[in-house]
Amino acid sequence: MFTKTKKWIGLIALVFAFGAVMAGCSGKGNGASGGDSSSSQQPSQSGESKGSEDKKADPVKLIWYTIGTPPSDLAKVNEEVNKYILPKINATVEMKLFDWGDYDQKMKIIIGSGEDYDIAFTASWANDYFANAKKGAFYELDALLEQQGKGIKEVLNPAFLEGTKVNGHNYGLPTNKELPQQRVFRFNKEMLDKHSLDISNVRTIDDLEPLLKAFKEKEPGIAPIPAKIAEFLPFDLPVTDLPFIGMPLNTQDYKLINVWDTPEAMAYLKTMHKFYQAGYLPKDVATQKDAGDYFKTGKWLVDVADSQPYADNLWSNDAGYKVVSVPMHDPIAFNWSVAGALQAINAKSKHPEKAMEFLNLLYTDAYLINLVDFGIENVHYKKTGEQSKDSIPDSGYGFPAFSVGNLMLTYLNTGDPEDKWEQFKQFNDSASNAPLLGFQVDTTNMTTELANLKNTKEATYNSLFSGTLDPETNLPKVNQKLKDNGLDKVVAEVQRQIDEWRAGQ
């Protein structure tokens, strides 16, 4: 019996050792073959560029993962991009798009397995920028920014790079777009006009009530608020996914509190509950799986969105009817709004300098960024003026322009005001900073509590904040549950980190 087990252990060990040796060999083999393939590609590529690159080194091939539904004409546009950048920076790029819902998971595996890539999209809401930067998955860009990335520094609002620093260093390049967050109530103008409703006095959720009431009487078949709307409570939330740990925006003493235990939250939830009971929201709103269908049909009155200058035009374009909005608050720069979209370079990239040169072009070269964002002229879009274009519908190319580069170099849509990008700059300059801008929480010491708290949140958040549950009876229960699950411990730990961060400033 015993000798038998020993034999087994020996055998297993042998198998593992063999496997490890094989893996090691193949790793080297891969590296070599990778080198081979790139050099074997070289003749054909230099052939394309008519031998003008002969004096230079072999062109580098960059792999770029970014977010978005892969369009059918991606390969065509990719080819154009390569034709354009090869003479400029002696490199080509392979654009790989992963769909919105898949991106996060795919990047986790790619980063986790150490797969080869050079540039990747990252943000506070997908392929978590702060977490990845902290664990060293991304290349530190400080030096590169001074050399290959000079153009980027010139065009970016300094607050972007300042706000996305992790431990004092930059690991990602934010898209040059809107910097602060401004949450707005968005209205269906057609419905407003039809029932002559006036929105000029709306600023808070309570101001909506007369509108909703009047609307409900005239259109009993439509829920005026078509889906769960995002709340705006005046707090800065340092921990992702835990919207109850917050610091008041006008804080003096930088003390964290339980947001859900404040009169503001209670008042908001009461209003929502009142709305829900009055039938202003769909009955199944808490579990609803509607992903914007109402926007297509126009059967709605008001919802909530994050705004940017001239967003009304964009929304109206999307919807096919007029959409107007009123802001709930002045623009505020939060950590996560500053980190709304970044491109990072792989820490293990073999060509970080080339990657930076390519990214630099995306911030400084109008032709390239328009090519990446909108596709090929006269195939995917038509120019309608010096700085404006119309996209050709169903042309087979679409790219989320906000995810990369310098948005301010891109063509406007026909009908956009000429000063749109100017307004963006003003909007960015007008932002006030959230109290915790630049602070990143370190969650290593509290993973269990975080998981428990997150579960509690998942179980209650939708039904509370959609107004389905009565906050009077349920909110205290939820708060007790949060306490039971270690809220105080997490708050104390985050508070300690904040104090440290403040002392270091």
Binding site: W100, G101, K106, W125, A227, A230, Y294, D306, W315
Partner: protein, 308 residues
């Protein structure tokens, strides 16, 4: 039963009428509850889009329409492609799984196979310990270089320890040694014994494995999520999972993504009825697999090669 005197003896296999009715009712009700959601999906897919948005889901919709299906056929290159990928993966994968599993399990079932214990343990070990997600990914994507090939959808699922053990046990209990001996006596080699004697009487067991793996391949989306980047290799379930994930994602990030750039995303999503029609199209063929395999199960019960 016919020979029993009428009226004297009651049929011992028969429940009293009341109980019989009740049991039928319970079984029928249960069956209905199982089938109804799917029927409902079919109904929704046949509802007119606007009627759906106005009235929500209805069992008897106001207006019927085949629009969703015509929409898919008109615009769904991707869907048809994915259909093809799924079919290919399912057929090739099932055949491969059956061949590999049968060979492995048969060898293990033979008592005179010298390394039987080792190979049994070798398979069994993978049931207890797995490498985990990232190491598996490294092996498939980087070591075997299967990334973005159709084989990455087939090979990782081709061998399963569970299937091997099921089939081994089946061979051990259902194939008497006498049959193998009889083959030997008549001068058959090992392969002849396996393919001419063992396989034909093991069809029920093999059909079970085939059914498991058909379902497994047809419903698999996770391998595609891991390994497939190009659109032309995305199987059907992965395509639907993608749509579902995108919807989830949009619901979660609605405010964030409403800041102007959600256009591409909303456009990439099919309408509600089209989504349901996709579900119907994706489920349809696999339903047919059951009756096909059922044939072997029934046959299997009646097969008896030897009386001992």
């Amino acid at each position: 039963m016919d020979s029993s005197p009428p009226g004297k003896l009651r049929d011992v296999h028969r429940l009293p009428a009341g109980w019989n009715g009740l049991m039928h009712l319970i079984a029928g009700g249960f069956a209905f509850v199982c089938v109804f959601p799917f029927l409902f999906v079919v109904i929704i897919s046949l509802t007119e889009e606007n009627a759906l948005l106005l009235n929500g889901y209805q069992i008897f919709p106001e207006k019927w329409s085949l629009y969703a299906y015509s929409y898919i056929i008109r615009t769904g290159d991707q869907l048809l492609r994915s259909y093809g990928v799924t079919l290919f993966v399912t057929v090739v994968g099932t055949v491969l799984t059956v061949i590999l599993t049968t060979l492995y399990a048969y060898a293990l079932s033979r008592r005179n196979f010298k390394f039987r214990g080792f190979f049994a343990f070798f398979a069994f070990f993978t049931m207890l310990f797995g490498g985990g997600l990232v190491p598996t990914y490294i092996v498939v994507a980087q070591f075997l270089e299967l990334k973005d090939t159709v084989w990455s959808l087939i090979l990782p699922m081709a061998m399963s320890a569970f299937n091997i053990l099921v089939l081994r046990t089946f061979f051990q209990t259902m194939i008497p040694d006498a049959i193998i001996e009889s083959g030997k006596i008549d001068g058959a080699g090992e392969f002849k014994i396996l393919f001419r004697l063992v396989v034909p009487i093991s069809l029920p067991g093999i059909a079970t494995i085939a059914l498991f793996s058909t379902l497994g391949y047809w419903n698999d989306w996770f391998n595609a999520l891991l390994y497939i980047d190009s659109n032309h290799l995305v199987p059907l379930q992965a395509l639907m999972m993608r749509i579902y994930n995108n919807m989830q994602f949009m619901i979660q990030n609605s405010a964030l993504l409403n800041s102007g750039q959600s256009r591409e995303m909303i456009r990439s999503l099919p309408q509600e009825t089209a989504r349901m029609a996709m579900v119907v199209l994706a489920t349809g063929p696999i339903v047919l697999a059951y009756p096909f395999f059922q044939r072997y199960f029934v046959q299997g019960l009646t097969i008896g090669a030897i009386k001992e």
